[in-house]
Amino acid sequence: MIQSVLFAGVGHLAQSGSGCLGPNGTSITGLCTSDNSLHMPVAYRSILPMLVLFIGALVLLLVSALLSKRSRPGLYPVLSTAVGLAALVASVWEWYDVGNRGVSTIGGQIFYDRFSVFFGVVVSVTVVLASLVSDSYLRREGLDGVEAYALILLAGTGAVLMAEAAGLIMLFLGLEIMSIALYVMAAYHRRRTESGEAGFKYFILGSFSSAIFLYGVALTYGATGSTRFQDIAGYLARNTLVHDGVLLAGMALLIVGLGFKVAAVPFHFWTPDVYQGSPTPFTGYMAALAKAAGFAGLLRTLTGALSSQQANWRPVIWLIAVLTLLIGSVMAIAQRDLKRMMAYSSISQAGYVLVGLQAGSAAGTAGSLFYLFTYAFVIVGTFAVLGLIQGPGEARNDLGAIRGLARRRPGLAMAMLVFLLAQAGVPLTSGFLAKFYVIEASVQRGQYPLAIIAMLAAAIAAFFYLRIALLMYAGEGEAAGPAPALEPAGGGAEAAGEAAGEAFVADGALTAGLQPVPSLDGATATLTWEPPPEERIAIPPAVAATLAICVVFTIAAGVSSPIIDFARHATAMI
């Protein structure tokens, strides 16, 4: 492969020696047109955050190759955090540099606008948080090494690239760079079978979705004659397609491909297994990053390039949003594994962003962006807490592990409570405003049913968020007492399709206020609560700092918000 591109390059160099003239002094057709000039200015400023992340990853690898092994165990997270911060600084600088204008640079492959820069900020922040959280986890599991951080940075590179992409080719490249790095991260915990399984499942299904996306790119190209967003939009604005079947098919496949990445129903089947099996801090990173980048791609494609086709894609997104909201919320209730539960929770959260996307308006986009930005803090924080309480070897991921957390570590429980409330959409947290903005945008477009369904889903979801919260604050006596209760299967509305022998598990701590929970896990008829781990959970300083940042941000963004202005400015796409 190296050779092949080399030869193409060599041919080019040989050509540039003779400038625009052919061997006989004649001008070679097509070489000297302004469109295809051999001089290609590269606007480095427009890809600065991505360059920082990518070069940072290379520097990390180089440093690790040059330092003798284990001489600097704590160096890589520090370096990785520094790179993330540098990318953040670069993004902020870009924000002021680009202003409200937007240009496409580097041969029309990159959009330099506030939308790109916004995601530069989101991704940089996520990288910083993930680097801080991962260190203690990786050391605890004996997995520390440079590769984890290099992968974090490379996945970030791909995510930024997806947001910056000015065409489907670039979008696909970003998608692949991010996805492949995430596949490996999912399988990073080599000694846990679940981790390997997660990586494998993610890889297989992800590859399929990439192929589907590519097919969509091909069909869209066939229908519009270009892969660049501007050209596609321009072509569709100028021409009314009589036969738009190919375009619609292409659009549908693009939605499927990107919908997989953001875990929208019905393309969500990988999510629970992958979230459950992946190393916990990486799960948080994956959830924040893949969602942000996937939605950046969806927004670019649908509201950018295909905005003239709104009448066609909005109903599709409507359906997907409804399914995502309801199935995510309902399935989460039935889970007994914390990471699985959070996986379904993240699916339902994606539904709200889809609601914002479905609005197809500037307000909807702003709401989606705000949602993605705030959600990054919440989900990284949530999985950071889960990573702490699960204990070495990810021994405890069940609901019982979190029981009585408030008694053991009140601070940790408080942080977790904030994250849970934010995800449930309780006022005074960022989650409330985020949900409010996307639903408001939806209402503005007259989508009352969708708004009502979204609120209904929030109510359903509040159930299991509060359930975790109550478990955390369950007192001593309750924690010791609850006996597993077996009841015959009744008319569990959500689990109607399940076998009649399905057990209803009544949690003793919760029977007072809440209904019994249907268990979808048919194999286990009884549920025995293992006693919660009694040893004191150590909180490493880096994780504590990260949690503090996330909590402060979640509350700050929920009280008074310059963030939404930030997001509103960022909707200025080309």
Partner: protein, 205 residues
């Protein structure tokens, strides 16, 4: 194959060019289909891999037919010359080259469903090829191939308009390297995760 290659590479006779282009297309198409069916139908993994090579050579022929000589050469060098060789390498190393026992399908409906979807895709392509104006083709992304050799054209494209996509594939390659290291390295296990017997074994080692 040699004859076809040479015919395509050198053929410029006016009346013969058309016929030879068709001949090349026909041979290429036959090779592609033979190979594709072989890959799916043959039981032995090595035979399937060889059939894949035949498909790749057929594709290379079609590239030549479209005067994309460079792509044809790359197709052979990279795919036939390196990638399938690595397939074979792995097949031989893992010794999975025995006849697969006809294991029961995990999902009963899988096979008919696959056939059905394949037929749907085929029908889709056939319909698309018959529908007029399906490709509105506003303009080509690539320049015209008139003048200059296609290697030079490709070089220009890669180093001007597609510079960034080309460079960013470097990130993919870096990830591939890191991934290979991560996935192939044997980690020592922490004692807490071992059974007592394994711990004993570890000390004895």
């Amino acid at each position: 194959m040699t004859a076809a290659l040479l015919a395509a590479a050198t053929g410029s006779g006016a009346h013969l060019a058309h016929a030879s282009a068709w001949a090349v297309f026909g041979v290429g198409a036959a090779l592609i289909l033979t190979g594709a069916f072989g890959v799916v139908l043959l039981r032995n993994p090595v035979h399937s891999a060889l059939m894949l090579v035949i498909t790749l050579i057929g594709v290379a022929l079609e590239f030549i037919d479209e005067s994309a000589d460079f792509l044809a050469a790359v197709q052979i060098i990279v795919y036939a010359g390196a990638i399938v060789i690595l397939f074979l390498f792995v097949i031989m190393f893992l010794a999975v080259d025995r006849r697969e026992p006809a294991a029961p399908e995990p999902t009963r409906a899988q096979r008919p469903l696959a056939v059905l979807l394949g037929l749907v895709a085929l029908a889709e392509l056939l319909i698309l090829s018959r529908v007029q104006h399906w490709s509105s083709g506003a303009h080509h992304v690539a320049g015209s191939l008139k003048g200059g050799e296609d290697v030079q054209k490709l070089g220009e494209s890669i180093f001007t308009r597609y510079l960034l996509p080309f460079e960013m594939t470097a990130a993919l390659l870096v990830i591939a390297v890191v991934a290979a290291v991560v996935l192939s390295r044997r980690h020592g296990r922490v004692a807490a995760e071992m059974s007592p017997a394994e711990q004993e074994e570890a000390t004895l080692r």
